[in-house]
């Protein structure tokens, strides 16, 4: 297949039509002490302390920013345990025992509308920083950083494209949290002082387009529009979405705000609404548990900190328990594969995908060039792979692997089943060397 291929198998089926199930809050929840962006942390509570929902129990420290850690249940802290984080690493988790009283911390009191109307961009940034709002689409990029820009913003984009196969969490959010989405967009319009707001969805989601076509008639004069963008992969990538929705091409290494654009994931918008209106951090989120290996794929609204094993049981377990399974957190193309199902739902987990393991033997590269033609970032994956194999640092740097967004398309299109993306990841570590 020597051609540019950007369509991948969707595999979503009818999961987007199923209503979201509410998962029980488990007896023990686990809160990660550190994540990929913040490698160090400080915990304020000790064993035996009583905590309430929304209480700050620690601080994650990264090189550029700090994030408060919030408790997501009321109960007592009982210690630390090691589990797998969504990045695929073994990470220390704070273990909280639930007392099922659902008591909120007194600091999480709703704001009045007058109070919100007075807020400016800096005020929003402070609220979001205190509530540790991050990109819930999977990037876990702190949202308040986007509010710190001084640039004049002309367009707000809300990303509900969800171009990864299997996942339907954003699809359900779009249908179930409509009021919150509109509320969040209003706050964004106020913060950035800009009228134009587009909600981007894939053109093939006719149900969303019909529902929003009717729903947005209520908000005629507010400048909120639904924008149907392409069906290709990776349409959900920031740069590709901006290009499709507005026609602006953002060169690598520049921020969208330099071009007057800010963009948020749709679940982040819901999170922003909750933080601003109710002053609450993200305690629940929507995830899809799906894949060919699971018996009953479903969407769940789960408490952050729930172990995934209990959710898998809720889905009826594995379809073929005798086969080897692959567990992926956060999309089959870009997500991390986990060595075990002993992992925890964090804020940024969008899905758990269970697939039957298939053996694909790597064949020699026949230089067909499909990876070069398909790469959305304009890279040359095959050349980077060769440079990595030769450990040629200079040449790896020349080929600019840092531009790679790890969409996984090069591995997908490879006619010889080579894991090209893994080589690019290695190239990134090589390129970071002095």
């Amino acid at each position: 297949m020597i051609c540019k291929s950007t369509t991948i198998k969707d595999s979503k089926g009818l999961l987007g039509r199923l209503p979201t199930l509410k998962a029980d809050v488990p007896e023990f929840v686990f809160i990660a002490t550190d994540n990929a962006r913040c490698p160090a942390s400080e915990v304020y509570v000790k064993e035996g302390d009583h905590v309430k929902i929304g209480q700050v129990i620690g601080l994650r420290k990264g090189p550029f920013f700090e994030q408060p850690i919030h408790a997501t249940v009321s109960g007592t802290m009982v210690g630390y345990e090691k589990h797998y984080h969504r990045s695929g690493k073994l990470v220390n988790f704070i273990k909280l025992q639930n007392d099922f009283k659902e008591e909120w911390d007194p600091s999480c009191s709703p704001r009045s509308d007058e109070e919100i109307a007075k807020l400016d961009r800096k005020g929003f940034a402070e609220i979001l920083k205190a509530n540790s709002s991050v990109g819930l689409g999977g990037s876990s990029f702190p949202t308040y950083v986007k509010f710190q820009t001084e640039a004049k913003i002309g367009t707000i984009l809300v990303n509900a494209i969800e171009c990864e196969p299997y996942i339907t969490a954003d699809h359900r959010i779009m249908l179930e949290e409509m009021e919150k989405i509109i509320g969040g967009i209003r706050y964004l319009q106020q913060a950035f002082d800009c009228k134009n707001a587009y909600i981007c969805v894939k053109a093939k989601y006719t149900d969303l387009r019909q529902v929003y076509g009717a729903f947005l008639k209520r908000y005629k004069d507010e400048g909120i529009k639904l924008k149907a963008v392409g069906n290709f992969y990776p349409q959900g990538w920031e740069i590709a979405m901006i290009r499709s929705a507005t026609g602006i091409k953002i060169p690598s290494g520049h921020l969208p705000s330099e071009f007057g654009i800010v963009d948020f994931n749709v679940s982040t918008v819901v999170g922003i609404y909750d933080s601003v209106k109710y002053n609450r951090p993200v305690t629940d989120r929507l995830i899809s548990i799906t894949g060919d290996g699971i018996r009953y794929p479903s969407n769940f609204k789960v408490r952050v900190g729930t172990p995934i094993r209990s959710l898998l049981e809720r889905c009826g377990g594995y379809k073929h328990p005798e086969k080897d399974k692959i567990l992926i957190l956060g999309g089959p193309m870009m997500g991390a594969s986990l060595p075990s199902d002993d992992c925890i739902v964090t804020k940024t987990v969008t899905s758990v995908i269970v697939l039957d393991a298939e053996e694909h033997k790597e064949e020699p590269c026949i230089r067909c060039g499909s990876c070069l033609l398909s790469c959305p970032a304009g890279l040359e994956p095959k050349q980077i792979m060769d440079a990595v194999k030769a450990m040629d640092k200079k040449r790896v740097k020349e080929l600019k692997p840092m531009r790679c967004v790890e969409c996984g398309l090069c591995t997908y299109v490879c006619t010889s089943h080579i894991h090209v993306t893994d080589y690019i990841r290695r190239a990134k570590t090589i390129a970071k060397l002095p």
């Binding site: 297949m1 020597i2 051609c3 064949e363 020699p364 070069l372 040359e380 050349q383």
Partner: protein, 373 residues
């Protein structure tokens, strides 16, 4: 990968069937010998390559055999099979004396697969197209023994009233025309062949490359399945047609009996241009990987073919131009100037690849002196 190799084999199937129908056992013998030799060579290579590494113990041949066979995949069969079929189709049906064809097939297939591919590390690592290398080697060694005059050409499919001393292209060398140089004069002979006969393959030639219809069917299939890169195909045929058209204009003016249409038809449908463009130039392993480099590769191939055909001592230039372009592929891939964008520099290089041979061609055809025999 198996799918792409399979696609090319399927695309070759009509040509293979046509060759067997017309040439009968001779075509079958060509195919069987070359495929068998190439597959066997690859199998031995797999055995050698996957020997059990030295660990102090002595391993019996049976253990070594098992270790090798376990690494033998479908690709180790399909890839040499494909090379073998292509090589068989660009060999003649018979030789004079008759036993030479066996030697030629075995030696050519061995040289093609071993020197062209296996010494570089097998599939995916080769620099040269194995079939083209084998064909060129055979032609240089046994070319004078090739025979297009045997009884195959007296069957109903062929017209026998024309002088069949050789292929249409080899015959050109014997023609001259008063008052013009030899480069132009050779084309006085093209009126002896009708375009229809060339198109249908009713002329002497290699057993596969004469049947243009089946080759075109294969080409459409390959393009439809995206198994070949259309950039190379289009740029190769485009450059070839453009340069041949330039030559055609000059030749038609100098020799009034040759019409332009006849010249172009002869240029496109004689020899192995179409076969080479569809099945050999588009071999992805031996071509550059960026799309601009691929365009350059195709243009270079077209220009070289024209130059060799008109000025070269050899009548047929496709296999040679393939090998020369294969050598240029790593140069075009060099990271200092390769890249996915069509920059101004690259377009300039593409233009010069076409225009420099064009200027040489025009000057030589216009001003070369007449050579008195």
């Amino acid at each position: 990968m198996a799918r792409m190799l399979g696609d090319v084999l399927i695309a070759l199937a009509p040509t293979v069937v046509m060759a067997i129908v017309v040439f009968g056992l001779a075509a079958f013998r060509n195919l069987a010998i070359s495929v068998a030799v190439m597959c066997l060579a690859e199998f031995v290579y797999v055995l050698i390559r996957n020997r059990i590494p030295y660990d102090g113990k002595k391993h019996t041949f049976k253990e070594q055999w098992k270790a090798g066979v376990s690494k033998y995949t479908i690709n180790n069969f399909l890839a040499p099979c494909l090379s073998g079929v292509i090589f068989a189709l660009i060999m003649p049906a018979s030789t004079n004396p008759g036993y030479v064809i066996y030697v030629a097939l075995i030696v050519g297939a061995l040289v093609g697969i071993v020197i062209g591919k296996l010494v570089f590390g097998g599939t995916g690592s080769n620099i040269f197209n194995p079939a083209a290398l084998g064909m060129v080697f055979t032609k240089l060694c046994f070319g004078s023994k090739f025979d297009y005059e045997s009884n195959y050409y007296e069957s109903n499919y062929f017209i026998t009233n024309i002088a069949t001393g050789g292929t249409p292209l080899t015959n050109l060398g014997s023609y001259t025309y008063p008052g013009v140089s030899n480069y132009v004069g050779q084309f006085a002979g093209i009126n002896d062949y009708s375009i229809l006969d060339l198109f249908l393959g009713r002329v002497p030639g290699m057993i596969g490359e004469v049947f243009k219809i089946t080759i075109l069917v294969g080409m459409i299939y390959l393009l439809f399945r995206h198994a070949i890169d259309f950039r190379v195909l289009v740029s190769y045929l485009g450059c070839y047609a453009f340069l041949m058209a330039l030559a055609g204009i000059i030749v038609c003016n100098k020799i009034p009996t040759v019409s332009f249409g006849q010249f172009m038809g002869f240029a496109m449908f004689s020899g192995g241009v179409l076969f080479g463009a569809v099945f050999m130039f588009t071999d992805p392993v031996t071509m550059p990987i960026d799309s601009p480099s691929r365009v350059m590769y195709g243009l270079l191939g077209g220009a070289l073919t024209v130059i060799i055909r008109i000025f070269g001592a050899l009548p047929e230039g496709v296999a040679f131009s393939i090998l020369l372009c294969n050598m240029m592929a790593p140069v075009l891939d060099y990271p200092a100037w390769s890249g996915r964008e069509y920059t101004k520099k690259k377009v300039a290089v593409m233009a010069s690849i076409v225009l420099i041979p064009a200027i040489i061609l025009v000057l030589a055809l216009l001003f070369a002196p007449e050579v008195k025999a």
